[in-house]
């Protein structure tokens, strides 16, 4: 089992590095799928099969699909990739990486200071998780339901295409802009 864990860990880390360095969004998302699958393997090796399944279905499935849909809707293709290439000069990486490395080293040092027990993995049954979820965590579960509901409503509301409602201060500017547009149209028609 340790072999499974270490292999999938290495894959997860490598895939994640690929995710954050890709220029093309679709490539990044595909590497993200790999990363999630690797993490699912880690879950499995930790004796959490239910969570591993959820990871595959929800993360690698639903969320990634959602992102891909958006990428497709916004038509982010090679143009985006070239722009990303422009933005991501090597020097851009230096500062954030240094800061992140400092953070990582500190976290590692702190983890090393903690108790260094060897883990004895006993798989936790789905039944146990479900009982715990519907018993002790019932209120948190309800709240998670609220959250999802709010997410759905919010996404529907924000994503809706609606008429432009401008603040009354902006209306005049808008009118001016529209007048200009009209003039342009007239000019083109005349020409």
């Amino acid at each position: 089992m340790p072999l499974l864990f270490y292999t999938s860990s290495v894959i997860a880390i490598l895939a994640t590095i690929m995710v954050i360095t890709r220029y093309h969004p679709i490539h990044a998302l595909l590497y993200l799928v790999v990363s999630f699958l690797a993490v699912a393997m880690i879950f499995l090796s930790l004796g959490a099969p239910f969570v591993a399944v959820l990871e595959v279905i929800l993360y690698a499935g639903a969320i990634i699909v959602l992102l891909i849909f958006v990428v497709m809707m916004l038509n982010l293709g090679t143009d985006t990739a070239t722009q990303e290439k422009q933005w991501l000069q090597p020097k851009v990486w230096i500062g954030p990486s240094l800061l992140a490395l400092v953070l990582l080293s500190e976290m590692v040092i702190l983890l090393m200071q903690g108790d260094n027990a060897d883990m004895q993995v006993t798989p936790v049954e789905i039944k146990q998780v479900s009982i715990s979820l519907y018993k002790e965590y019932i209120i948190a579960l309800e709240l998670a339901g609220f959250l999802l509901m709010a997410g759905i409503v919010g996404a529907a509301h924000i994503g809706k295409h609606k008429k432009k409602h401008l603040h009354r201060f902006l209306q005049e500017e808008n009118l001016d802009a529209e007048n200009k547009k009209m003039k342009q149209v007239e000019e083109t028609v005349n020409n």
Partner: protein
Amino acid sequence: MHQYLFLIPALPLAGFLLLSLGGRHLSRKIIAWIGVGSVSAAAIFTIILGLQFLQAPPPEGSYTQTLWQWMSTENFSCAINLRVDALSLVFLFIITFVGALIHIYSSAFMRHDRDYARFFASMNLFVCAMLLLVLADNLVLMYLGWEGVGLCSYLLIGFWYETPANCHAANKAFYVTRIGDTAMAIGLFLLFKELGTLNIPEILQQAPQHFTAASPNITLIALLLLAGGMGKSAQLPLQTWLPDAMAGPSPVSALIHAATMVTAGVYLIARMHVVFQLSPVAMDVTAIVGALTLFIAGCSALVQTDIKRILAYSTISQIGYMFLALGVGAWSAAIFHFFTHAFFKALLFLAAGAIIESLHHEHDIFKMGGLRKKMPLVFWTFLAGAAALAALPLISAGFFSKDQILWYAWSAGNGSPMLWFVALAGAFITAFYTTRLMIVVFWGEMKTHIGEYPGRAMTIPLVILAILSVIAGFIEWPHNMVHLTLFSDLVQKVLPATMLQDDLPEEIVFQIIAAATALFGVYTGYVFYQGNKALIEEWKQSSALMQIRNFLFKGWAFDQLYDALFVRPFKFLTRINKSDLFDKLYNGIALVSRRLNQLFSISQNGSLRWYIVGVLIGIIFILTLQLML
């Protein structure tokens, strides 16, 4: 009748309330009726009351009316009590009667002013405050009237408030009298501490038993009260406000100088005569202050060119006579001089106002001249007033009262030849500058065109006052001439009789000297300004004499002295204090917050990544702390 006593101050108060609250909606005619009517009604009430008082004097010597309890604590109670005795009656009469004449005069004098209602409201309040002052039966109520008088003088001197100089004059009057008022308040506190009461009859009764002769406290109290009187009555060294108070309209000057305000100090000292009698030092100080003031102010009046300033200095000088009389213990003589002075000084100011208005607001006497033929009525009335001021023997009211003071200055208990001599010199100077004023204004050639002649509402008060200026003295004759002492008989019900020294020269000698001095002053004035005009021109060449003249013109440079002694050091201190350490501290706090705000607002630049870096640095900081500890 005396149950209607409260009406006397209440009527002007009602007039004030009506005019100040509704004055904007009333026509000028109604305003004049209210303003003049309230004071005139008070005058009529006073005269009826006075007649009743003279016919059937009340057994205890005074009418008292209790209106209501003002305040009451464990060991102090104070009621709104009105009390009339012979002394207050004299003042009441002058205030309401002369006040009413001045009001009638101003209804015409102020007819073009746009703040007609405000003027009459302030005048009515002035009269009301002064009436409260003289009617008060305790010193607290009197102090209320006293401060009310100060407030109204401020309002009226600064009546034409658009000119900064007028506001400055009003402020000056307020500040300078405030010095005296503060001293008086301290005096009242001391009096209360000693006697436990501020009721005037109780004080007068208890003071002789409570204070041993010449105890330091009674001297202190008397001197503090005297300081209050000096502030209001413009006596040395607090006299500087009165010449500047000429900034107000002429009727206001008449009211301040004749009927109200400046006589408050005389009233206070006369009212508290028992306290003063207990302290010989205070009496001497009063007499010396009076003598010095009358001389100094007289000298200043000699060289003034503004007609109203001449009259103002003459007022200071005449009040100086009253203080001198009070100081030597000639109580009734002082009040008698107040009585006659009120008539002729009101007359002089009103006549001067008429002249000034006719000559397009010209104040300089050397630009007047030749008015004798053009304005005969004003000339004759002014002459009556001037004669009284110069104390021409036998034909003027001023002679009888001033002669009495001169006589007592030597002969009374506290009198001395020195005081007499100063007073005599003052009398000479008074006659001199009065003649100068008369000749320069009424003789010679016309220098300014006459615009508008005074109407009847202005001339009638002048005539009445002129008649009174001549005959008012006849009610009190010197002992050795006619046995008629109506005035002192009345006043001596309240004030003690004047004690005389032993083995004095004959009184008639003094009378002849005083009369001769007055006549000699008139003659000297005539010589200088009519007979031999070249002499003055000759003197003007001499620089030393001109310097003396300028010194006198500035009123002995008291203003400059006070400016150097008090005003400038005070301003210096305020400038130092303006940026003191504490201000720096609080300004520093504000500055630091503003700088920090500028610093931190740089960090709020709208960049998402920048914020995340901030969060990250925070986490690193916390973890580092965790590692270190």
